[in-house]
Symmetry: C5
Subunit: 308 residues, 5 copies
């Protein structure tokens, strides 16, 4: 995620930071060159090309704005929904730690140990979820927070975050059998874990179910056709200014298209994606602080205006 | 569901995979041929046709984009809502398994058996729901997970998934009578089953209540009228290029229309529908793993880029 | 609700089933005749009429599409929300039956009787809600499911469905006093009844609070003015084709308007309204089956492609 | 709220009932007169005015429809959300009465009295909420339902509805201390009261936080500028018909603007606002009926097609 | 937040209060001057500039209205969501106070003290949340409501509001250990605290995750390009009126852009932001009144029509 520092309007106009221009530069240049070629051809050659009425572009423009607008809304909602679920994870993690602090009496034997295990498993779940969503290997982040006896089971598991929730549940079962918590308070803890299972399933949904492929095809094709025909349509009226207008229009349409594509998969590492690393570090710090640990890892800082 | 593998822009332009072009090719060709006929007629015959001002198309275009845009949004929301409910099913299934593991003590007589039955009935519910939504016969998927004594009742039932929920409830009642679970913990399990009943009713709603039929009529008719009149409106300005423009416009409008129709019924087997088989297999694997079974069925792989 | 059977595109174009054309035929014909009159006048008379630029229609068209689009969205959402609440009723009814089956032990005296009464009252509530929403007299549907002693109170009641919920609550109170259910399980039943009260209030809200009347005025007036002025605006460009275009435009605008009006009150009996009778019959069958009754009423079939 | 009685299309066209025309008549007349002046000037004077191309209006029209559309959606959602919260109040009130009937045994000493007080306080809360939202003095509606000993505290309170919820909570505490209800059933009642607190806070939010003021400025100014420039832009094409078109356009834009303004504050007394008096009377009747009172106040009837 | 007092239409047109005109005046003036320059150049110089057809602006206008409309909706929703969460805080705070009043018996030793601490910590949480969101130092607002023994821990904490919730949880744990509340009633209190943790996480989300930076770039750049090219496009048709139209168009587009930017960060101190100070003072008054304190701080009044 690009961190904002309120640049002035002039700088903003020319910044490349967080911009999707570099990504779509080839397409913009191609359309501009095509515009230049058409303008030259129209000047030196007899008018071979028909006098396209702008009407054709109005018709196509309606369809294109329908597609781009819809896709943009849908992708932004995916991105924002993903962010909401990670916010819910913060709520669940912090509340679980708070409940552990409140309802597990330190004087009772085993309670302090259980509290620590519950909090550590929650931290491990956060890291495991992040690595699963980014398809990276996160064993080194997770290992410090799990017990040696569970290593084998976790490594064999087909869904690491879900397996950590099962371990959390198991810990809860142990609390109940040892009488550390009444069934009623167990309910409160169990609700938090079910809510975390909800976050997991929602993130899996966003990761595994992109927008229907046919939408991408419709949007891409219509945008390309539109921009490729544009020079022929405006050369009569604009002459030498054709390449400029074509480049501007290509920038707006391809730019929105490229941005939608980044937001569609909000868990990646590109500059507009969610800062999952920073968020899981925040939760890690909050939870370790809550159980009274004093050696806390540092909060992540943006590197080059970009927070991951 | 079409699986993405990030093809480059050029390939994307010409791919047929996941595209809805094959479905609407006849209509596109018809409109293109009509355009060609009109262009030829205009060239050789005296101008019998009035000089349609593009204005008429602007008026119709507003109505058409209103209809197509609305229908597209509504159908996409149905599709995405259906996906959310299947995600909720994952949450409920996994949480039920976790609760069974935590709160049913293996040492107590009958607990291990009950745990297995609860998880098996949940798997059976998932398969039964999928087959009911796809109107296929799924007895072979369900049978391994139910007990012989329930066969008769299930076969007679008018709503198989609901009947499986009733069996789950019955199992819960048995737990309570045998003292395996306190009333408070029973509540937690019962909430999960009620949530599954919610998923069932929501899927039935999406399946049984399509968009009002009159919308489809309005959209279809307006789109057809628009595309049939289009050649007459643009032939004056575009001449020989008329068929090209008509084909492009027909592609965008009929394409969006066809895609909306696929998404309107998200439980089918066409290439943009939800991969219910893969999702129920995932839940099956997760749940069997959770109760410690080691012979797991394999995860489903996409065949020809398409996951069902 | 019109039941779909996937007619081909050609038949679809000319079907009257579920179409709103019959409803708006007079208006369409009027606009077409007006168009014909204007075309004839323009041909034979000196050009008395000013040369309306299409610009005026663009301005009005923006306002009109704003109004129609907004109203259409709002009415569709009312219709779909109503459908969701009836889906929730299915969830609540089935879950109540499941809970009754699980938690009321048949061996205990009075439990079987209580179970039956709870389920019967739920069925009666469904029928009463439907009849109240359709403003029909449904005593014959309700009577078989209530006890003679409650007849008097129900007949006097100002809100029959609410009174049935009060009876359900009373039954629950009896369970508690007789010790059939612990307070904790009472909670589960009570939640279901509160949820049914939510469905009742939501349906009343949709029934009693239509879209603000001023919207309907704005939409109607703008649509009429637009269509009445249209012939004068297009006769210059289209000549003899004026009536055709006017009829088509009138069809799309009046059609959407008429459809929105049907959806605005989703509980009626017109062809795009919700099939409340079929849905309450479905719940009736599910619930009777759940408590083991074998003489079930038949599911409702669509008559003339229309399900009520 | 205007009550509908399905007038025919002709009458609908000319009705003033519920219309916002009277409110915006001065503006419409002003724009029409301006249009007339411009048309006369253009006829008799040399063409001093430039030949405004309609293009300028297309540009402004895009901005204006963006603003009007957004504001209209936002205000309608406020209105509908307000209505939903009042529906929730009905659910909470009726459910509280039902729970009181079910779980407070009339035989136990003090139970009947407590039941009556709970229901009476709920009715008082509804009246107090209505009067606070409409900023009227409602002490005469509230007084019959509260006890003399609480008068002082309520009169001193800075937030009367919240204070009534505190009294409801106090009553619940008394139930608990006297052993009328177990802690578990107390939870059920407490949830209802918390939900009523949610309704109160939501209504306060809608009342105290209008749309950002700057929106109103943008919308008003753009609409005025547009309508004031319009005559100059269309006089060339329309001549003597200029005032007619200007009046129609002013009607649609100012009409939508005025309607949005009414809906923005849904708790007022204008003809499109919510019928809070009728709704609180309905709840009053339902609740008194539920606790068996027979002298019920009459339901409110619309006066002059308008329900308040 | 600007407080409304219903100015008449004329005053409204010229008011600067709450307007975003001062913010965007330089840009408007620049565009107007550019328009003047272009108009003069066109009058005195030979037509060097091509005759831009308005078509180019129609194309760009579609993209621009897509961007502005989307961004405006997204930012308004952030603002309104933020307001809803602060409304939820009111619900939670008041309900916690009500529950404390109902369920903590004043006669039991320690109960009165606990009640006071719970309410004071809730007030402190509200102030701490406000200061964290506005990045101001709020220790003086918080200090009166916390105990000396917690000062050290709170000052060291990395997230002050979260730490206050941990203290609330600790207080609850103490209630339980001292037997002041049963586990069931503890659940009710705990739900309120979890809900406050939800408010905290949601506000952090809105504060830390602005709209993707690339949107701002797209919107800014397209709006600037559009307004800079506009004079060249309209000078042919409008002549000396060019600067006027350019200034009006710049006002609408830059105005919406500037307003969206204010709403995007709803917790600031600019004139359209949320009145957090007034809202936390309201909660403070409500809660102190609820526990019977009589020396209440005064409610905040708007200063210069602006409430903070």
């Amino acid at each position: 995620m690009v961190v904002r520092d309120k640049p002035n309007a002039f700088r903003l106009f020319f910044t490349l930071r967080g911009s999707i221009v570099p990504k779509i530069l080839p397409q913009i240049l191609f359309v501009a060159l095509l515009g230049a070629g058409v303008a030259i051809a129209q000047h030196y050659l007899p008018p071979l090309l028909p006098d396209y009425s702008p009407f054709a572009f109005t018709v196509l423009g309606v369809a294109l704005s329908l597609f781009l607008g819809f896709r943009n809304n849908a992708c932004y909602e995916r991105w924002w929904e993903a962010r909401k679920h990670w916010g819910q994870l913060l709520v669940d993690g912090r509340s679980l730690a708070r409940q552990a602090n409140s309802f597990l009496d330190d004087e009772v034997e085993g309670a302090a140990e259980t509290k620590k295990r519950l909090v550590h498993l929650t931290i491990a779940f956060t890291h495991a979820l992040r690595h699963q969503l980014r398809q990276t290997n996160g064993w080194s982040d997770i290992e410090p927070y799990i017990q040696a006896e569970d290593h084998e089971r976790l490594k064999r598991s087909q869904n690491l975050p879900d397996c950590l929730l099962q371990l959390l549940g198991q810990e809860l079962g142990r609390c109940r059998r040892q009488g550390l918590l009444s069934d009623i308070l167990i309910q409160n803890f169990d609700e938090r874990i079910t809510s975390m299972a909800g976050v997991l399933a929602a993130c899996e949904r966003i990761q595994n179910t992109p927008l229907p492929f046919a939408y991408m095809l419709l949007v891409h094709r219509t945008a390309y056709i539109y921009c490729l025909l544009l020079p022929f349509g405006v050369v009569g009226a604009l002459g030498a200014f054709t390449p400029l207008l074509c480049a501007i229009v290509a920038y707006t349409f391809f730019g929105l298209d490229a941005l939608s594509e980044e937001l569609e998969e909000p868990f990646g590492l590109s500059s507009n994606d969610l800062p999952l690393s920073a968020m899981s570090r925040t939760l890690e710090i909050n939870l370790l602080e809550a159980i009274g640990e004093t050696e806390l890892p540092p909060a992540l800082k943006p590197s080059g205006h970009c927070l991951q």
